[in-house]
Structures are given as structure tokens and as C-alpha cells.
């Protein structure tokens, strides 16, 4: 009996330890980012750092203003949401309510496949197809820029939006829809007036998840955005995102430049924490 008890406790301890590995990683990364990100912000000055409009990290008189990166990340993500959410949402409604089972299962596996495509492949296709395409269609000197990044991001966030919205729409009780249909509403009216409002927390969570995916993407964006540290004042402007600012310069950086890159990572981390908090808020509301 005692031996059994000991074994139980022992296994319990092992599971706890394994669980703590994840928690430990998060704590370690957070602490590391804060410790290595704060010094540069102090040295440069929080106002100069966050609201400076010029980034020239290797110049003799180095300038470390990351406002262009912050705005680019916000605009880029917003653009991806504006394109990706309507497409993803409509697809989800179709898959959940209108599609016949065969089409539904086929389309859902395609969506899963899209989620599994590595981001470097998105970047490569963007570089070889999208960027020259934008150059020809809009008659601009170069297609790499904000618009190309927005389109790539919009496609990349589709799977998360579709999958989560479908789950939310599938979970709407059938009685709601039956009642609506019995009162004389058409099926489409029912889906948009009854099903969608009932699933709105889940759909909102899907959008937030898409935002998180878009703001954290680096590889694909780096290959199509041009990466010059300009203010994003035109759709065809060559721009640099928060993620690509860190990833692009990290390999060769040193001194204050490297510390400033950690500070950018810290700012990005705060953005993502905020998005995660929003996600949790929506998910919690859905449960209630």
C-alpha cells in the first residue's frame, strides 16, 4: 500500500516536472528579453527609441528610432486582417453551414495543408511571383513592399481564421437554427442573423489569433517587404517590420546595435502578450 502511494507521488512529481519545463522556458525567455532589452532603451531614451523615425544602426552617428517598424507592423497586420478576415470568415460559414460533407472534408484538408506550408515557401513564391506581378500590374519600379507583405500575410493567416471560425460555428446548437427556420427565415438569413451572432466570440478569437500570427511572422515577410527602414507612407513603399528588423540584422550585430535589436524584440513581445491577453478574454467569454 505504501509502495503504491510512493509510486503515485513519484509519477505525479515527474508530470509536474515536465509541466514546469514549459513554464520555465517562458519565464527564462521573458526574463532574458527584459534584461537584455531594457539597457538599450535606457541608453537611447524611451521616447527617442519608440517615436524616433530614423533607423541607421551602423552609421557613425547611429540612430535607433523604431517608429517606422512599429507602424509597419501595425499597418501590415491591419492590411492582412482587412483582406484575410472577410475571405476566411465567408469560407468558414460556407464550410460549416452550406457545403455538402464531401466538399467540406476535401476543403478542410486543403486548409490544413495551407497551414502546414513553411513560411519560407510563402516568401519564395512571393518573391518570384507576387513581387514581379505587383510591379507589372501597378507599373511601379519595384514590387517588393508593404502591399506584397500584406498579401502574403493575408494568405498565411487564412488557415487559423477558417479553422477556428468553423469550430465556433459548428458549436452553435442546432435548435437555434431550427427555430429560426421554423419562423420562416431563409437558410442564409438564419446563418447570418442567428448562427454567426451566436458564434461571435469564437470568430473574434479567430481574428485575434490571425493578428498574432501576422505580427509574429518574419521569414516570408523578409523576402517580399524590401526591408528598407522607411516610414510606411505608401502601399508600394519598401518597409521593415518589427520581426524582420530583429531577424535581418541580428547575425552581424554587435554592441548597442545588438542591444537595440533585443529591445525591438521586447517591444514585439509586449505586442504579442497584449494580443494573447485579448485572445484569452474572447475565449473565456465564449465559454461563459
Amino acid at each position: 500500500m505504501k509502495k503504491n502511494q510512493f509510486l503515485e507521488n513519484f509519477i505525479h512529481g515527474i508530470f509536474l516536472l515536465l509541466g514546469l519545463i514549459t513554464v520555465g522556458c517562458v519565464l527564462l525567455i521573458t526574463m532574458y528579453l527584459v534584461i537584455s532589452g531594457i539597457p538599450a532603451i535606457c541608453k537611447i531614451g524611451p521616447i527617442n527609441f519608440l517615436f524616433g523615425t530614423e533607423w541607421a544602426s551602423t552609421a557613425k552617428e547611429a540612430k535607433y528610432g523604431i517608429l517606422p517598424f512599429i507602424l509597419t507592423s501595425i499597418f501590415g497586420t491591419a492590411g492582412a486582417i482587412v483582406i484575410g478576415v472577410p475571405v476566411g470568415f465567408m469560407t468558414a460559414v460556407y464550410l460549416s453551414k452550406l457545403a455538402c460533407p464531401k466538399v467540406k472534408s476535401a476543403m478542410q484538408s486543403v486548409v490544413s495543408l495551407l497551414a502546414g506550408i513553411p513560411s519560407v515557401v510563402f516568401g519564395l513564391v512571393g518573391m518570384l511571383v507576387l513581387v514581379p506581378g505587383i510591379r507589372k500590374v501597378f507599373q511601379v519600379p519595384d514590387g517588393a513592399g508593404l502591399l506584397a507583405a500584406i498579401i502574403v500575410l493575408a494568405i498565411m493567416i487564412l488557415p487559423s481564421i477558417i479553422k477556428m471560425s468553423v469550430t465556433a460555428l459548428d458549436a452553435v446548437p442546432k435548435e437555434y437554427e431550427d427555430a429560426s427556420l421554423a419562423l420562416g427565415a431563409t437558410p442564409v438569413e438564419t446563418y447570418f442573423r442567428v448562427s454567426v451572432p451566436a458564434a461571435k466570440s469564437g470568430i473574434a478569437a479567430a481574428v485575434v489569433l490571425g493578428v498574432g500570427r501576422a505580427i509574429g511572422e518574419a521569414m516570408a515577410v523578409m523576402m517580399v517587404a524590401g526591408n528598407a527602414p522607411n516610414m510606411p507612407n505608401s502601399l508600394f513603399q519598401s518597409v521593415r517590420f518589427l520581426t524582420t528588423a530583429v531577424a535581418g540584422e541580428m547575425s552581424y550585430s554587435s554592441g548597442l546595435q545588438q542591444q537595440a535589436l533585443f529591445s525591438i524584440a521586447l517591444v514585439l513581445f509586449l505586442f504579442i502578450m497584449f494580443i494573447n491577453a485579448a485572445l484569452n478574454f474572447f475565449l473565456k467569454r465564449e465559454k461563459e
Binding site: A56, S57, T58, A59, K60, M127, L128, V131, P132, R135, P141, D142, G143, A144, M222, M223, G226, N227, A228, S238, R240, A247, G248, E249, S251, Y252, S253, S254, Q257
Partner: protein, 267 residues
């Protein structure tokens, strides 16, 4: 009981193997640094390892990181594709030129321009010349493609054309391959890459009428070139194995391999 003995024996055996590996690792040469030097140092390391059996490692981190790695004693020999800065020399680091790397100016295959002077290239990259028609090409805006801040190629290029941090890039890409791809996709683009890594998908321009060939780089008539440097500590002797490697690659015996990598041997 028998099982236990077997387990213990196999564990002891594993220990011996591990110790053996450890001993071999101690007799190795580690290099760290410039990604531009990957081709040349990789070839040299392989030949050295085959000839002597000494394990050779190369960590492609970038010139800055390589120099830092030597300074902190994390590797035997650092690799830099730019001359050491004064503050780096002040830390007790010594540079030895291994080879010269030509930087090629590349344009799209559709571009009709074939030759530019060094000054014109500088004017293009700082934004004084913005259309190909100003220098004898078609009427199209010049799209400047370059490398990210801190890249050895960018530093080499900007210091040769004397416009460090003054270049007005449209695209800053993080690898040579990306630069070539971007230029090959855009008829108005111009970019710079190591001569060693140019492919047929783009056109190489001559500089002041001189082509980027090995002879021209070696005799100095091709002006866009930079040194590939071995970084060591001034006051600290290399390990026996590292010294062997250093002597081998700087003695001239390995010049064939250096040339095969598309750069010009210095010794």
C-alpha cells in the same frame, strides 16, 4: 544478474567511446565568422581534414561575430571579409590576408548597360542618378538592391565606393541568393554580390572597362574588391593543430582550392 553485468559493461564501453571522442575534439581546429567566406574556407577545411585527420569546424556567423569569437576565445581562427577596425586591433587582434574577393555589380539580363565607372556606381547608390536613361540605358527607374546593415559584402561595397551609410536602398536582403533572385526578377534593378557566387541569371557589369576576372582582381585593375582575412590573437599562440591549418592555407600550397572557390589567393 547477468543482465546487470551486461548493462554495466556496455555503459563502461560507452564511457570509453565518449572519452575517445573528447580527446579527438581537443585536437581540432575551429573557425568562426564571415558567411561570404563559406565556400573558400569550407574547401580548405575539407582538404585539411582529409590530409591530416584533424577535425575542422566552421561556424558561419558573420564577420563581426567571428572577430568577437576570437576575442572571447571561442574559436581558433576568426574569419572576416573586411579589414579589422581600429578598436578591434586595439583588443590585441591580428589580421592576415588569405585572399581577395571581387564584388560584382549585377543587373537584369534585359538591361542594355554593360559598363559603369566607380564614381557612377557611387552616384547611383546615393541617389544622385535615379534613371537608367541618364547613363545610356532604357527609361526606367533604377532599383537599388543591397544587403542588410552589418553584412560583410555591404560593408566592403560601401567602403570601396566611399559612401558608407549613405546608400539609399530600395531593398535590403539578407543573403547573396536573395539579391541575385531580386535582380533577376526586375529589369530596373542593380545589386552587388561576391564574384564567386554570381550565376547566369543576371548580367555582370564591367567597372571602368575592366571585367571582374581573377587576373584583374589579383593585379588590382578591377577596383571593386575586398580582402578575406584570418583573425588571430596577437599575443597568444595558436594551438598546434590550428597553427598547422594556418600555415597550410597561407603557404600557397592550397592556392588551387582558394582559386576554385572563385576568389584570388593572396600568397
Amino acid at each position: 544478474m547477468k543482465k546487470l553485468v551486461i548493462t554495466m559493461l556496455s555503459m563502461m564501453l560507452m564511457c570509453f567511446v565518449l572519452v575517445g571522442c573528447g580527446a579527438e575534439n581537443a585536437g581540432s581546429v575551429s573557425t568562426d565568422g564571415s558567411t561570404s567566406m563559406e565556400k573558400v574556407i569550407g574547401g580548405l577545411g575539407e582538404a585539411f581534414q582529409n590530409n591530416t585527420g584533424i577535425v575542422f569546424t566552421y561556424n558561419p556567423t558573420g564577420s563581426g561575430s567571428g572577430i568577437k569569437a576570437v576575442e572571447e576565445g571561442r574559436c581558433d581562427i576568426g574569419l572576416s571579409s573586411r579589414e579589422l577596425k581600429e578598436e578591434e586591433k586595439a583588443l590585441g587582434l591580428k589580421s592576415t590576408v588569405l585572399a581577395y574577393d571581387g564584388i560584382a555589380i549585377i543587373v537584369n539580363n534585359e538591361n542594355t548597360v554593360t559598363d559603369l565607372s566607380l564614381e557612377t556606381i557611387a552616384q547611383i547608390y546615393v541617389g544622385e542618378i535615379i534613371n537608367w536613361s541618364e547613363i545610356g540605358g532604357k527609361d526606367a527607374e533604377i532599383v537599388l538592391v543591397g544587403r542588410e546593415a552589418g553584412s560583410g559584402t555591404r560593408d566592403g561595397f560601401e567602403s570601396i565606393i566611399d559612401s558608407v551609410d549613405a546608400c539609399n536602398y530600395r531593398q535590403e536582403l539578407t543573403s547573396t541568393g536573395d539579391v541575385i533572385t531580386a535582380v533577376s526578377q526586375n529589369p530596373g534593378a542593380i545589386g552587388y554580390v561576391s564574384v564567386a557566387s554570381v550565376k547566369d541569371s543576371v548580367k555582370i557589369l564591367t567597372i571602368d572597362g575592366v571585367a571582374a576576372t581573377e587576373e584583374n582582381i589579383k593585379d588590382g585593375t578591377y577596383l571593386l574588391q575586398r580582402p578575406f582575412i584570418l583573425v588571430t590573437k596577437e599575443d597568444e599562440a595558436l594551438s598546434e593543430e590550428a597553427q598547422k591549418f594556418f600555415d597550410y592555407i597561407t603557404s600557397g600550397d592550397a592556392n588551387d582550392i582558394i582559386s576554385a572557390a572563385g576568389v584570388v589567393p593572396a600568397n
